[in-house]
Symmetry: C2
Subunit: 134 residues, 2 copies
C-alpha cells in the first residue's frame, strides 16, 4: 500500500454537494443500497463509525438505522478514481432496505425486460417502522 | 420468485434524467465502478447485453470498453426499491478503471481520514488508451 495525495471525496463535484455512496455488506459482499452523502454526512460517518447519509426527500442528515435499529457499522471506506463516489463496506444490522429486504436491490430484471422480486423478505416493515412502512 | 408490477427504472427521478448504475463483478462480487445511465443507455444495455452508460463529461452514450476493449458483459440486472438506482452484475474484461485498476475503488480511507492506494494496478493505462490515460 502506498500513500497518495489524491483528494478525499470532492463534494463540489456532486449535484447540490451530494455524492453517491454505495453500501456493501462486508461479510457476503452483497450490494445493499445506494444513498447520498454531503460533506457533513461524510464527516459524521468517519467520526462515528456508522453510516450517515443525507436524505434528499427530508433535506436532512439521515443516520441510517436511527428509527429501525438497522445500523451500518463501517468496516472499510473506499473512494473512487474521480473522488466522486464513496463505497462503504459495512456490518449491517437487520435489513438494509426499508421494505424489509436484506438489500434494496431485491428486484431483478428478466430477459423480457420486466421486473420481479427475486429475494425473500427478512422482516416485516410494519414491525420495524410502525404503521408507516416507508 | 413472484412477479411484481413495480416500475422499471424511473429516469424521471434522476437529475437530467440520469440514474446511478453500479457495476459489480459477477465472479468475485467486487464493486467495480459507478456511472450514470439515461433511458437510452438502459435500453441499449438490455438490448446488447453489454453495459452502456451516459458520459456526463462528453454528453453522449458511453459504450464501456469501446476504446479499451474492457467491456462488461451483463450477467444480471437489479433495480432498487425506489426504482432509481441500477445494479449490474457483469463479467468484466480487463480492468474496469481507466487508471488500470480492477476496480475504480482502489483508494482506501485510513483511520486518520487520509487516502491511500490499496490495490495493485492490473494494466498500464498508456498501453490501453494510448498516450492519454484518462
Amino acid at each position: 500500500m502506498s500513500t497518495d495525495d489524491s483528494p478525499l471525496p470532492n463534494f463540489a463535484r456532486g449535484t447540490d454537494g451530494l455524492l453517491p455512496a454505495i453500501a456493501q455488506d462486508a461479510t457476503n459482499d452483497r450490494v445493499l443500497m445506494m444513498a447520498w452523502m454531503n460533506e457533513e454526512a461524510w464527516k459524521e460517518t468517519l467520526q462515528s463509525g456508522y453510516a450517515v447519509y443525507y436524505s434528499r426527500s427530508r433535506s436532512q442528515l439521515w443516520r441510517k438505522g436511527e428509527t429501525s435499529g438497522h445500523r451500518q457499522q463501517i468496516e472499510e471506506i473506499r473512494v473512487d478514481c474521480d473522488a466522486d463516489t464513496i463505497l462503504l463496506k459495512v456490518h449491517q444490522k437487520g435489513a438494509a432496505c426499508h421494505e424489509g429486504f436484506e438489500s434494496c436491490f431485491f428486484r431483478k430484471v428478466n430477459a423480457e425486460g420486466t421486473v420481479a422480486i427475486a429475494d425473500e423478505r427478512l422482516v416485516d416493515p410494519a414491525q420495524v417502522y410502525g404503521k408507516k412502512s416507508s
